[in-house]
Symmetry: C2
Subunit: 192 residues, 2 copies
Amino acid sequence: MTEKPILASASPRRIELLRSLGLDFDILPSPCENEPDMSIGPQAALESVALAKAETVRDMTGTDKLIIAADTSVLLDGAFLGKPRDRAEAAAMLRALSGRRHTVITGVALLRGPDNIVFSETTQVFFRPLTEREINIYTATGEPLDKAGAYGAQGMASLFIERIEGDYFNVVGLPVCRLGLMLARMGINILE
Amino acid sequence: MTEKPILASASPRRIELLRSLGLDFDILPSPCENEPDMSIGPQAALESVALAKAETVRDMTGTDKLIIAADTSVLLDGAFLGKPRDRAEAAAMLRALSGRRHTVITGVALLRGPDNIVFSETTQVFFRPLTEREINIYTATGEPLDKAGAYGAQGMASLFIERIEGDYFNVVGLPVCRLGLMLARMGINILE
């Protein structure tokens, strides 16, 4: 029997992505709320947050199962856009993203006991120019509020995304292709 | 009240994509089975198939509502990969796509009475190298059988897609960003 890994995240997008791969897993959201430390660079910062999330779940539970943790953020002009606090901040973020390219980075940690693989994946996202009316309607849906950068690639905001370069699923919350390869290195083969 | 457009497609992916935008529409699959005519080039060929699908629905029903039709295909080495006839052909297609870039093109037609907008969108897709074992397991799921090029970007095959360049949703079956802009030109605004 294959080991059932633990997803250390409450994100409905991550849960749905892993389910769509046919992977059987448990969910145990990490209470760790570390902020990324930009002084080590954006990729390393998000990898470090992901690892801290995974370690918190390992240390709380004492499990020797594989733990999957991730942290996704939007990088624009050298700074992270986190989750907006309210509708006004969501609108300001969308105004900043309008008609421009930004970068989405997901840091991922796979942890089993003392062993780990930590990596990050970067995707470029190009928004078409948005009107104030569109920003207003989209923020009114509430969709931006729980999402880094104030948008969810898989919902209505797909109308805004002209083009991406990289792994699309990385923007949703998990870099599925590389995650599959790294899970295999840790002994978990999804396709079997 | 906004006009309710007609989707001239039975594709569950297209139906789900349009629903996720919050668009209200009717479904009336087109019986037109024209094959793309490569002598006019791949983009023009798929645009022509999409327009023929829309015209068939218009002429059958006599409707003056807006009709949305699309045709998606996978282009590799100058030839289209259609839907595989059986598991062996699906495996052959996946072997051909393994470790390489291919092109996904969707032709789209918006038709209302005599007025139309026809366009196509192109996305580059990069598959990582696949093992025979992975191809075997994936084809056994049956997922490739109703899909051009023998894969669905949104399912298990997301494990194979290292990178894309362009509109992700174009690979699923509809170029959502441009479709939204073109629908607005035809008087249908999704975001309102």
